[in-house]
């Protein structure tokens, strides 16, 4: 089975994240890049599927050259090889452009199943998996907290607001996973050493069959008009409980008409 796992490098949420004042895009140099946490669950699920059904796991990342760190992390967990889509023309792509570039790349490299995280921690749009399914014309099996494959049949449990849906389809398909679907493994020392030798193919937009006018800041379908640091919240009232802390809080809620 040809399993492709989409992995994104994101700024560490523990550091201060900023937009650039010049083109209003995410300042990827200002913060340390780490693997998007939900992508670790996607990698783990890909490795579990490979262990159960055989095949190969390919990591696909679109991002600047420093995203190689994140690719190595996924390889150290056990993925076999990687494709790194890297091109200055991609800078500033919105969700539509990103999904277009990734769909073109997926068509180029081929796949039986594509696995994504359900959301990134930087942009948090949660759009990519549905957009890829639409662009590739394959079943959308998103928000999965359980994935089963049997031959070419695939079934997932899709988390919903009311519980879950059982969903069935045939491969090829696009899957996105939620946190807690599995417990991502830590790369072993051996894994980290082996990752250094695993093949990483870099592709520019021309090689991936991507039309330059559909990507980057100029190709985007949406724009940031302006932005500003959120004003600090007005300082609240903080009291120490002297045995009447609950009553005081109730008083406050009443003053705000919550009770």
């Amino acid at each position: 089975m040809n399993i492709v796992v989409c992995v994104k490098q994101v700024p560490d949420t523990a550091t201060e994240r900023k937009l650039r004042s010049d083109d209003k895009t995410l300042d990827r140099d200002a913060a340390d890049g780490v693997i998007n946490e939900l992508c670790e669950y996607a990698v783990e699920e890909a490795l579990l599927l490979k262990e159960a059904h055989g095949g190969e796991v390919t990591v696909l990342t679109m991002g600047p050259s420093k995203a190689t760190d994140t690719i190595r992390k996924a390889l150290a967990m056990g993925a076999d090889k990687a494709v790194h889509l890297v091109d200055d023309a991609l800078h500033g792509s919105d969700a539509l452009s990103t999904s277009y570039a990734m769909a073109q790349t997926l068509k180029t490299i081929g796949f039986d199943v594509v696995i994504l995280g359900s959301e990134s921690t930087d942009a948090r749009t949660g759009l990519l998996a549905a957009m890829l399914a639409e662009r590739l014309g394959v079943p959308q099996l998103t928000q999965a907290n359980k994935v089963d494959i049997d031959g070419t049949a695939i079934a997932i449990q899709r988390l919903t607001d009311y519980g879950h849906d059982k969903v069935e389809a045939s491969l090829p398909a696009v899957v996105s996973v939620v946190e807690k679907i599995n417990e991502p493994r830590y790369p072993s020392f051996k894994g980290i050493m082996a990752a250094k030798k695993k093949p990483v193919q870099t592709l520019g937009i021309a090689e991936a069959g991507i039309d330059a006018s559909q990507v980057g800041l100029a190709g985007a379908w949406s724009e940031v008009v302006d932005f500003a640091a959120a004003p600090p919240r007005a300082a609240g009232t903080i009291v120490t409980d002297q045995g009447d802390g609950g009553t005081g809080a109730a008083e406050f809620l009443a003053s705000k008409k919550f009770i």
Binding site: L127, R233, A249
Partner: protein, 317 residues
């Protein structure tokens, strides 16, 4: 006035509150048309939609729409975008709403803005990003603006719209039928509202100490008619189910009132609740970062403060 499509969120025919909020928002910018997708349409649903400003109601109530994941709703909306040429399409920024928006954007060659917390003239959206640290104005520049709006971004307005019904049939493509829903499993949540759209959320963290102790949090939530949330420390410990986790890798909530008990207020937790209008924190550590956000904070033991608060609320009812 410009027509604005609003995708109705409903469960078993019950229109969700977020849809009424979206209708209010659409009404401030044009003429709202509610789009009903799936079985369960009723006179009651019609009254609710028209009573909250819908001038038109497109009814596509074929059972088949609900039998497949997301794609049928996107096809229906794409069909209406082509026939009605609306000024914009609004959906709720729930996981599924956003997926519908994503597919619709690809189909119609339109940009999409997600997680708007407000929407103004020219469909310029307010977004609150990086865990609430930065406020952004953004807009769609190509195609029909598609905007996914967070629940509780505005209040529903009871104002009658014309409510003209129009039946719509949609011929689903094979691609839209590719992912089949073979079973729906509904968890019994009792009378509590859904976490993402609740006006009041009461969350417990590591300080709650055990699964049994979450009964305290539930009692407080119930006294306020609210939903229960939890920090990751609490869901990781198995004290409360994971789908109630609030934060960066959990749900994003934006309620009128958020009460955090025994939660320190880590940046990843704040990312999921920082746009709450009023925040109350109960924590025994005066240095806990959650107090930086709190409109009202009690430094104290939650096992004393929470029951007293609950009793006091019950007393005042």
């Amino acid at each position: 006035m410009a027509e604005i499509l609003v995708l109705v969120e409903q469960l078993d025919g019950d229109v969700k509150k977020v849809t009424l909020e979206l209708l209010a928002l659409a009404r401030s910018l044009g003429s709202p048309s509610a789009v009903w997708a799936g079985p369960g349409y009723s006179a009651e649903a019609k009254a609710k939609l028209a009573g909250h400003g819908a001038d038109k109601i497109y009814v596509a109530d074929a059972a088949e729409i609900a039998d497949h994941v997301v794609a049928p709703k996107a096809e229906l909306l794409a069909q209406l975008v082509a026939s009605a040429a609306p000024a914009a399409v609004l959906v709720a920024a729930t996981a599924e709403g956003k997926e519908v928006a994503g597919r619709l954007a690809v189909k119609t060659g339109s940009g999409v803005i997600t997680d708007a917390v407000g929407l103004g003239e020219g469909f310029v959206a307010d977004q609150s990003i990086f865990g609430g640290g930065v406020n952004v104005h953004s807009r769609v520049t190509k195609g029909t603006p598609i905007v996914a709006v967070r629940p509780n971004s505005t209040a529903p307005v009871a104002e009658a719209g014309a409510g003209a019904e129009e039946q719509v049939s949609v011929a689903l493509s094979d691609a839209a039928r590719a992912a089949r829903i073979v079973e729906r499993v509904k968890q019994d949540k009792g009378a509590r509202p859904e976490l993402a759209e609740a006006a009041v959320v009461v969350s417990g963290g590591r300080g709650v100490g055990s699964a049994e102790n979450f009964a305290l949090i539930e009692r407080l939530a119930d006294s306020l008619g609210g939903a229960v949330g939890a920090s990751r420390a609490a869901t990781d410990a198995g004290w409360y189910p994971h789908q109630f986790q609030v934060g960066q890798t959990g749900k994003t909530v934006s309620p009128q009132l958020y009460i955090a008990a025994g939660i320190s207020g880590a940046i990843q937790h704040r990312a999921g609740m920082q746009t709450a209008k009023t925040i109350v924190a109960i924590n025994k550590d005066p240095e806990a970062p959650i107090f930086e956000l709190a409109d009202y904070g009690v430094v104290g033991d939650l096992f004393k403060v929470v029951p007293q608060l609950t009793d006091e609320i019950e007393k005042r009812k």
